[in-house]
């Protein structure tokens, strides 16, 4: 993204002879088109979708696609930041369930399922976000302070948090959530669900932060070469802390949106999401080895996956086969991005 901006404002394109990168129209370096690699695929799916069913391009259907992906898209946003600094957080999907789960547990009145009714309804949203931040802080302490392997730490957390949610809910679903928890998942702003606006706004903010602030650029520096980042005076540990905690906070927010939309917190809320999240990020050009990829690319990744699922549903594919097809789509998308990216994926 930053270089697209560079190219836009480039007035003195001082060509350094053969060393210069291949430029299209002399302005946008070819490598930067990688960010837009999925745009043609999205357009093709849109055309195919329209052929399969005239419903596809109807505003209602498109809003439906955006709304169903908005919660998981926030997880993609969180995971993308974390992958860029060369870490991983598998526990995001459990955070998405546990954070609103704890809020519901404390708020839902006694008698309705496993609710304790300890706090008034207005506390639900702050509690959700606090639980998210707390989980992020625990991850950060283990990974950064104690230097434990991030993959295993968050794998452990994934299991612990899922188990904790099952424990407090007794394996059942929390209903009768307070209105404050329902608001974000059900409200409509300017004719579209609030969760869509929240999702798009957060992605827009993330694109700007990652491309145009020194904090955002420090994520790339840390993921690309942490020693060089330290040598350049970046406080790497602090940046990692912020990224990990912000990631969990976003997962809690995603959980809030989903609970609101479904008006419940199931004990399996978010279960299995993490695989789709990783697939979307990788398809969107985020390197698992850190330092590469953009937020816009990650957004196109998750958008493409959900559009394809929607087309399959509209085409009347039996629901039992959707899972297998989803897996195939991920593999196919990887192959396509290998071809368009031209490089061995790492």
């Amino acid at each position: 993204m930053p270089d697209a901006a560079l190219a836009d404002t480039a007035k003195d394109a001082a060509a350094a002879g053969a060393k210069q990168r291949v430029l299209i129209g002399g302005r946008i370096p070819l490598a930067r088109l990688r960010d837009l690699a999925l745009v043609p695929a999205i357009l093709i799916i849109a055309i195919v979708g329209q052929i399969v069913s005239p419903v596809f391009l109807q505003p209602d259907n498109l809003l439906n696609v955006l709304q169903t992906m908005s919660e998981i898209a926030l997880l993609v946003l969180a995971q993308t930041m974390i992958l860029i600094v060369k870490k991983m957080d598998l526990s995001l999907e459990s955070t998405m369930g546990l954070a609103p789960g704890v809020a519901a547990w404390l708020v839902v009145p006694v008698g309705a399922g496993h609710g304790l009714g300890l706090l008034p309804g207005g506390w639900a949203v702050p509690v959700t976000l606090a639980v998210g931040a707390l989980i992020g802080a625990v991850n950060a302490v283990l990974i950064i302070r104690f230097g434990l392997n991030g993959f295993i730490v968050t794998l452990g957390m994934l299991i612990v948090l899922r188990g904790a949610l099952t424990g407090i809910s007794g394996g059942q679903t929390f209903f009768r959530l307070p209105p404050s928890m329902l608001y974000l998942g059900t409200a409509e702003w300017l004719g579209a669900p609030a969760s869509i606006w929240i999702c798009l706004a957060l992605f827009a903010v993330a694109i700007v932060v990652l491309g145009w602030t020194s904090f955002g650029r420090s994520l790339y520096a840390i993921g690309g070469n942490v020693d060089a980042a330290k040598a350049a005076g970046i406080r790497t540990d602090r940046v990692l802390w912020i990224v990990i905690v912000a990631g969990s906070l976003l997962a809690a927010l995603a959980g809030l949106l989903l609970s609101g939309r479904l008006a419940s917190v199931a004990s399996a809320q978010g279960n299995g999401y993490i695989f789709t999240v990783f697939a979307a990020a990788v398809i969107g050009g985020i390197s698992l080895n850190g330092g590469k990829g953009t937020m816009f690319g990650a957004f196109t990744g998750i958008l493409l996956l959900f559009m394809i699922q929607n087309v399959l549903t509209l085409a009347g594919i039996p629901a039992q086969w959707i899972g297998a097809l989803n897996g195939l789509i991920i593999l196919a998308a990887l192959i396509v991005s290998r071809i368009t990216g031209g490089k061995v994926q790492d």
Binding site: P2, A14, K19, R21, G224, G233
Partner: protein, 522 residues
């Protein structure tokens, strides 16, 4: 600590030699001692670098060069002794920006971030901002272009840093150091990965910058380069300062003697060896042509017991030919025959089974698995000898490994130490040990002595000769003259073809001219 005092006295006495100018030296280290637990990395050493000079720091691996560099760049504090810059005491360790304004080091290991552009690497964490508080990429890029132009570095700031050549990367790192205001730059083995032409360009750049008032401390294993580029040389040995002298006053043999501690290290190699004409050729290469055009129509033969050099600048195709011989690449045309057998092209196991032993180009990338032990690395290519049915007998492995360790005099406390814990010279010996583990009929080496100290280098070259005497053919692909000196004949590649064959006893300028594609007689 009598010995330390002695070292200190020697250091300061020599450092003072004929260089008492009015202005304070750019950097002066006095009586610096650094210990890591029981080992003393530096013992009362001194170093004085005055403005505008290019000062060489040499010493074998483990002599304390790296420790001094980390002290001079403020990564570590000395246990004893002082460091001053321009007469002022060194800043606090935590004050990174103060250090950056005084000194910078271009390490062998890159400190740029490959996925970011050159402009962003130059101004990492000190970007220009617009009125909105967001980064102004156009300003960053313009500033980068100005900086690169000011120091005449011919690189487009929009290039991804990962796409730069090693040489360009070094220039960018030097430019970045200068942009912080540092005018004292440490170059840690800058030429290790460069070919002859690039080295000349680097030296040209160093001279230009010297004229612009930049002072260099130059660390290198290539003694020839020190005579070419440096004014003074300081020698460290075993954590002590040995001598500081103008390079003109220190003949090559004396310099080597100062480094190794004995006078006999640099004797000329002269030997007569008989090749076994009756035995089948160790290697026959016919009409080999690379798939990507890196080499064309290469044909040669190596007799059993013969050492053949394959010389050429970087990009001449020598490395690719050697890698094709051992099966790391497959050729588009032509054939390779090792000791009478034709291994399947592009198959390393087949080439090894045919009797090849291989020392790859870059030991860190291809040579060893850093976290595995010396024993495991040394026996990596001979699993069949470690036990039956794919099970590894640790006893047998350790027996083979201690044989290798003895044979190559690898300095390691135990065969179970990870290779990453060894010095560069000993790491390369491990790689060599593996190549020799199966008594090869053909030994293929690519840049076998890159980045290792003089003593280890002599040792490895002796080992190569010993291997040849035992009846194996040897192919050395290198542009290092010392490597090629042991060869019975040298084939020179230029622009993908073998252009010249030179018999043993050549003069340096002859070979260098052939490698650069020049004709001295014309």
């Amino acid at each position: 600590m009598a010995t330390e005092a002695e070292g200190m006295a020697g250091a300061s006495a020599r450092a003072g030699d004929g260089r008492s100018r009015a202005e304070p030296p750019v950097v002066q280290a006095t009586g610096v001692t650094k210990r890591y637990g029981p080992t003393t990395a530096l013992s009362g050493v001194g170093l004085t670098v005055t403005a505008g000079e290019t000062h060489a720091l040499v010493g074998r691996n483990g002599a304390g060069k790296s420790t001094l560099v980390s002290i001079l760049t403020g990564l570590q504090a000395p246990d004893e002794g002082t460091v001053t810059f321009d007469g002022d005491p060194a800043p606090r360790l935590a004050d990174r920006s103060a250090w950056r304004q005084r000194v910078a080091c271009v390490y062998q290991k890159s400190t740029i971030i490959p996925a970011l552009t050159v402009a962003e690497n130059l101004f990492l964490n000190r970007y220009d901002r617009g009125r909105t508080g967001l980064l102004k990429w156009s300003a960053v890029r313009r500033r980068a272009a100005d900086l690169l132009a000011a120091w005449s570095v011919d690189v487009d700031p929009r290039t991804l840093a990962g796409d730069l050549s090693v040489e360009q990367r070094q220039f960018v790192e030097i430019a970045r150091a200068l942009s912080f205001g540092a005018r004292f730059i440490i170059l840690d083995e800058p030429t290790a990965q460069l070919d002859g032409a690039a080295i000349n360009r680097l030296f040209g750049r160093i001279r230009d910058l010297q004229a612009q008032g930049v002072t260099f401390l130059f660390i290198s294993h290539h003694l020839q380069e020190i005579y070419e580029i440096c004014d003074l040389v300081t020698v460290f040995r075993d954590a002590r300062h040995v001598v500081t002298a103008p390079v003109a006053d220190l003949p090559r043999a004396d310099l080597v003697a100062a480094m190794t501690g004995d006078a006999a290290a640099a004797q000329h190699r002269e030997r007569a060896r008989t090749t076994e004409a009756a035995a089948p050729a160790a290697l026959t290469v016919r009409g080999l042509t690379g798939a990507d055009g890196t080499y064309r129509e290469v044909s040669f033969q190596i007799a059993a017991g013969e050492i053949v050099g394959l010389a050429g600048a970087a990009g001449s195709g020598r490395t690719e030919v050697a890698e094709t011989v051992v099966g790391l690449r497959s050729a588009a045309g032509g054939e390779v025959e090792i000791a009478g057998r034709r291994p399947r092209p592009g198959s390393v196991p087949d080439a090894l089974a045919a009797g090849a032993g291989f020392v790859p180009q870059d030991r860190h990338h291809q040579g060893f698995v850093a976290d595995m032990s010396v024993a495991d690395n040394g026996t990596l290519s001979v699993p069949a000898r470690l036990g039956r049915h794919g099970f590894i007998s640790t006893r047998r492995r350790d027996a083979i490994a201690s044989g290798l360790i003895d044979n190559l005099a690898i300095k390691t406390p135990s065969p179970h130490l990870p290779v990453s814990g060894l010095s560069g010279g000993n790491q390369q010996k491990v790689v060599m040990a593996r190549a020799l583990a199966d008594d090869p009929r053909l030994l293929v080496l690519i840049n076998p002595t890159a980045g290792i100290d003089v003593r280890s280098k002599e040792f490895l070259l002796d080992k190569i000769e010993e291997t040849a005497r035992s009846g194996a053919g040897v192919l050395i692909a290198s542009d290092e003259l010392d490597d090629l000196r042991v060869c019975d004949r040298v084939l020179v590649m230029f622009q993908a073809r073998v252009t010249t064959e030179i018999a043993h006893g050549w003069h340096d300028h002859e070979l260098v001219a052939a490698m650069e594609g020049m004709d001295l007689d014309a």
